[in-house]
C-alpha cells in the first residue's frame, strides 16, 4: 500500500512538532489540574481538578484586571501596527533613493532583541536624562515635567510604542510583499479610466491585500499576547499593576510566587483564547482554498 505523498511530506514536520511539543504541552496541562507550590514541596502535589481555573476566574481580582490590561494592550498594539504598516507600505511602494533607503532599514528594529528595546525605551523615557522625555517636553510644553513611567496611561502608551517600533517596520515589509503581487495592469486600467487613487485603493488594492492584512493581524495578535521581554524590562508591569499583561502574570506566578499549578492554569486560559481566534482565522484561509 503506497503511502499518500502528502503524509510523506508532512511527516518530518509533524513528527518533530509532535515530539517536541507534546510533552511540554501535555505536562503543563496536567499540571494546571494539580496544586504545586514550591514553597510547600519540590514535587507536584495532588490533583485538585478545576480549582486552579475556578480560583483564577472568580477569586483573583488581579487576574481580571490583567485580562483588561491585556485586552487594551493587544487591541491598540495590533490596530496601530496594521495601520502603520499599511500606510508605510503604500508610501514606500514607489521608486526613489529615499524610499529605497527606507526599505533597507525596515528590518532593523525587528532584529533588535526585545529586551534591549525595553531597556532602551526605559532609558529614553527617564525623567532626568531621557532623550524622548525631553524631546516631547520641548514639542508639547504641557508635558514638560511629566514622569512617563509613573503614569499608568503613559506607561501603557510606552509599552505599546516599543512593541510597535519593534514590529511595524517588519510588517511593512510583509505588506510590501503583498502589494507586489497585485497585478499592475488592473491598476493601470483603472487609472486610464480616470479613477482616483482613493477609489483604486478601496476597490482594487485593499481587497487583494486582505489575505496579507489577515496574516499580519493574526501574527501580531499572537506575538502581542505573548509579549513579555519588552514589558518586563520597560515597566515591570508598573506603575502599580497597570501594565501587567497575561504573559507577565503567567511568568510572575511561576517564577516569582512559585505557584506552578496556578501558572499553568493561567497559561492555558491564554492558550484557549488564542485557539478560538485561530479557529476563526483558519476557517477564513481554508475557505479561500476551497474557492480556488
Amino acid at each position: 500500500m503506497r503511502l499518500p505523498i502528502h503524509w510523506l511530506l508532512l511527516a518530518p514536520a509533524l513528527i518533530f512538532v509532535g515530539a517536541m511539543a507534546i510533552f511540554p504541552l501535555g505536562y503543563s496541562l496536567v499540571l494546571s489540574f494539580r496544586e504545586w507550590k514550591l514553597a510547600r514541596s519540590p514535587v507536584a502535589g495532588d490533583f485538585v481538578g478545576l480549582s486552579n481555573y475556578i480560583n483564577l476566574l472568580t477569586d483573583d481580582p488581579d487576574f481580571l484586571k490583567v485580562v483588561r490590561v491585556t485586552g487594551i494592550f493587544v487591541t491598540a498594539d495590533v490596530l496601530v501596527t496594521v495601520a502603520i504598516s499599511l500606510a508605510g507600505a503604500l508610501l514606500l511602494n514607489r521608486a526613489g533613493r529615499l524610499n529605497s533607503l527606507a526599505r533597507t532599514l525596515l528590518i532593523l528594529p525587528f532584529v533588535m532583541s526585545p529586551a534591549l528595546i525595553g531597556i532602551s525605551f526605559r532609558f529614553f523615557l527617564n525623567a532626568e536624562y531621557g532623550v524622548f522625555a525631553h524631546a516631547i517636553g520641548l514639542l508639547i510644553p504641557a508635558m514638560k515635567d511629566t514622569v512617563w513611567l509613573a503614569d499608568a496611561s503613559l506607561s501603557m502608551a510606552a509599552i505599546i510604542a516599543s512593541d510597535v517600533w519593534h514590529w511595524a517596520p517588519y510588517m511593512t515589509l510583509v505588506m510590501l510583499g503583498g502589494l507586489a503581487s497585485i497585478p499592475s495592469d488592473s491598476i493601470e486600467a483603472a487609472r486610464i479610466d480616470g479613477a482616483t487613487s482613493w477609489r483604486i485603493f478601496c476597490d482594487i488594492t485593499l481587497p487583494q491585500l486582505m489575505p496579507v492584512i489577515g496574516v499580519v493581524m493574526v501574527l501580531k495578535t499572537v506575538f502581542a499576547l505573548k509579549a513579555f521581554d519588552t514589558i518586563f524590562t520597560l515597566t515591570s508591569g508598573g506603575p502599580g499593576n497597570s501594565t501587567k499583561t497575561l504573559a507577565y502574570f503567567v511568568y510572575e506566578q511561576g517564577f516569582n510566587y512559585y505557584d506552578m499549578g496556578y501558572a499553568a492554569a493561567s497559561a492555558y486560559v491564554l492558550t484557549a483564547v488564542l485557539m478560538v481566534m485561530a479557529g476563526f482565522y483558519l476557517r477564513l484561509i481554508f475557505a479561500k482554498d476551497r474557492a480556488r
Binding site: 507550590k37 514550591l38 514553597a39 510547600r40 519540590p42 481580582p61 488581579d62 527617564n126 525623567a127 532626568e128 536624562y129 515635567d145 514622569v147 512617563w148 513611567l149 509613573a150 503614569d151 499608568a152 515597566t235 515591570s236 508591569g237 508598573g238 506603575p239 502599580g240 499593576n241 510572575e252 511561576g254 517564577f255 516569582n256 510566587y257 512559585y258 506552578m260
Partner: protein, 437 residues
C-alpha cells in the same frame, strides 16, 4: 591620628563582648592531603566586583586542594529562574549555589543543611557573622536550627550626601527624617540640586527598602503576631504618608523619584542632580568611581540612616549566602571550598584591595577591623552598630507575593492619584488572601 584612635576605641568597645578565643576557633581549615584532588565544582553566582575578586584567588585554592571551581555567571535578574529550574528538576547543574533572602524561603529547599559539616570543621557561625545575616541563612523562615549557607554578600543602608554642599550651607547629616526633609527643601531653594533622591518606582521591591525604616521607626510592622497584615494600622498609614510626602508634599525629592528605581536615584546623585540618597552601603563605589560618577571622593560623605524623632536608627538588611546543592554529588568537596572561601582573611583582603572600592563585609571580625575602617572612614563600624538592631527581609514563603502587592501600592501612591489609607487597606485585603493560600 585622632580619627584612628577613635576608631580603635570603638572597635575595641564592640569587640569586648566577644571572647577573642572564638576567632581562632571560628576559622575552619581544609583537609590536609588533598583528598578531593581532581574534583570539578560548578558555582552559580552573579557578576559583582567582590565575586570577581574571589574568582581571581581560585588558583590558590586549586593549588591547596586540587579542586577546580568554575564560576558560572548568570545575569543577576535571572538567578531566580535558574534556581527554580534546579529545584524543580532536582538537578545538580551547580554544586554551590547562591540565594538571596528577598526571593523567599521557597528556594531554600534547594540547600543542604550544613550543621554537621560545620561542627566537623569547628566553625562557629554565631561568632563569625552578625545575627541579622545568619538568620537569613537558616531554614524554618529564619527560626530553624539548620544553617543552609555562608552569608557571602550582605548590606546595610546608609545615608550618602554631598559633603561640599552641606558644608557650604552649614548643614550636618540629618538625624531624623524630618531633618532630611528640611535639609532637602533648603538645598532645593538655594542650589539647583534636588534635596534627596528617593525611589518609588516598581522594580524588584526596591521602593520598600526605605519604607520599611519609616514603618518600623513609627512603631508599625508588616505583619502582626498572628501573621495578619498590620501595615495599615494608624502608625503604618502615618509612616507611609510621611514616606511619600517627601516628594509629594514637601517636594524635597525630585518629581522623577516617582519612577526612579535604586540605580536611577544613585545616578541622580552621581550626576550632581540630587544631594542625598538613602541606599545600600555598596553603592559607595558608584558614587566615587571616576568612570561612573562625576563626583570626587571628597564630595561624598555618609551617615547612618535617619530615624523617627526619639527613636534609634534602624536599618534594613539584605543577605546573600553560598550553600551546597542538595542534589550535588560532590558535597564534601563543596564544603572544602566554602570553608576556604569564608576565611575572614579573604574578605579582609578584598576590602583592603586598592584597585576596587568594594565595601561589602559580612564577618564581624572584619566589620570592626581598624584598617578597614581607616580606608572607609568608619563605614563598617557604623554598619556593625546598625546590624545589631537590624531587621532583615521578612522570611516567610509568601513574601515574594506580599512584596509585589506592597511595591505596586507604593508606586501607585507615588503617582499622587490615590489615597494612602484606601490603598493600604486594599493591599491589606490582598495580603490577607495571600497569607491564607
Amino acid at each position: 591620628m585622632k580619627r584612628r584612635v577613635i576608631l580603635q576605641a570603638t572597635a575595641a568597645g564592640l569587640s569586648s563582648g566577644i571572647p577573642s578565643l572564638a576567632f581562632s576557633q571560628g576559622i575552619g581549615a581544609v583537609k590536609p592531603g588533598k583528598p578531593y584532588a581532581g574534583t570539578e565544582l560548578n558555582l552559580l553566582t552573579v557578576v559583582a566586583p567582590q565575586f570577581k575578586a574571589h574568582e581571581a584567588k581560585l588558583t590558590e585554592f586549586e593549588a591547596l586542594t586540587g579542586i577546580k571551581v568554575k564560576y558560572q555567571y548568570v545575569p543577576f535578574a535571572n538567578t531566580r529562574e535558574k534556581l527554580t529550574a534546579e529545584l524543580v528538576g532536582q538537578s545538580s547543574q551547580y554544586d554551590v549555589l547562591s540565594a538571596m533572602d528577598v526571593w523567599g524561603p521557597s528556594l531554600y529547599n534547594l540547600f543542604e543543611p550544613l550543621n554537621g559539616m560545620l561542627a566537623e570543621k569547628k566553625i562557629d557561625m554565631e561568632s563569625r557573622y552578625p545575627y541579622a545575616h545568619l538568620r537569613a541563612s537558616r531554614d524554618g523562615n529564619g527560626q530553624g536550627k539548620n544553617i543552609l549557607g555562608f552569608p557571602i554578600r550582605g548590606h546595610v543602608q546608609l545615608m550618602f550626601y554631598r559633603k561640599d554642599i552641606f558644608d557650604k550651607l552649614g548643614l550636618k547629616a540629618p538625624n531624623t527624617w524630618d531633618e532630611m526633609v528640611e535639609h532637602g527643601k533648603l538645598i532645593s531653594s538655594k542650589t539647583d540640586l534636588s534635596g534627596v533622591a528617593m525611589y518609588y518606582g516598581k522594580t524588584a521591591g526596591q521602593n520598600l527598602m526605605i519604607w520599611f525604616n519609616y514603618l518600623w521607626g513609627a512603631g508599625g510592622d508588616l505583619l502582626d503576631a498572628k501573621g495578619q497584615p498590620a501595615f495599615n494600622s494608624p502608625a503604618g498609614i502615618a509612616a507611609t504618608q510621611a514616606y511619600i510626602d517627601v516628594m509629594l508634599k514637601h517636594k524635597a525629592a525630585p518629581a522623577a523619584s516617582a519612577s526612579f528605581n535604586e540605580t536611577d536615584a544613585v545616578n541622580s546623585v552621581a550626576q550632581g542632580k540630587s544631594a542625598m540618597v538613602p541606599v545600600w552601603w555598596w553603592r559607595y563605589a558608584s558614587l566615587v568611581d571616576p568612570k561612573v560618577s562625576t563626583l570626587k571622593p571628597e564630595q561624598v560623605a555618609f551617615a547612618p540612616l535617619p530615624s523617627m524623632p526619639g527613636k534609634l536608627n534602624t536599618t534594613y538588611t539584605n543577605t546573600w549566602f553560598y550553600g551546597i546543592n542538595k542534589n550535588s554529588k560532590k558535597k564534601a568537596a563543596a564544603m572544602e571550598f566554602l570553608t576556604w572561601l569564608s576565611n575572614p582573611e579573604i574578605e579582609r583582603s578584598v576590602l583592603l584591595d586598592k584597585s576596587m572600592n568594594e565595601v561589602v563585609a559580612m564577618q564581624t571580625k572584619n566589620l570592626i577591623d581598624a584598617d578597614v575602617n581607616l580606608r572607609y572612614n568608619g563605614m563598617h563600624v557604623f554598619g556593625a552598630q546598625a546590624l545589631k538592631g537590624a531587621k532583615g527581609t521578612p522570611l516567610f514563603p509568601q513574601w515574594p507575593q506580599v512584596s509585589d502587592v506592597l511595591e505596586a501600592s507604593i508606586s501607585e501612591l507615588a503617582s499622587g492619584k490615590t489615597q494612602v489609607k484606601a490603598t493600604l487597606d486594599d493591599a491589606a485585603a490582598r495580603v490577607r488572601k495571600v497569607m491564607r493560600g
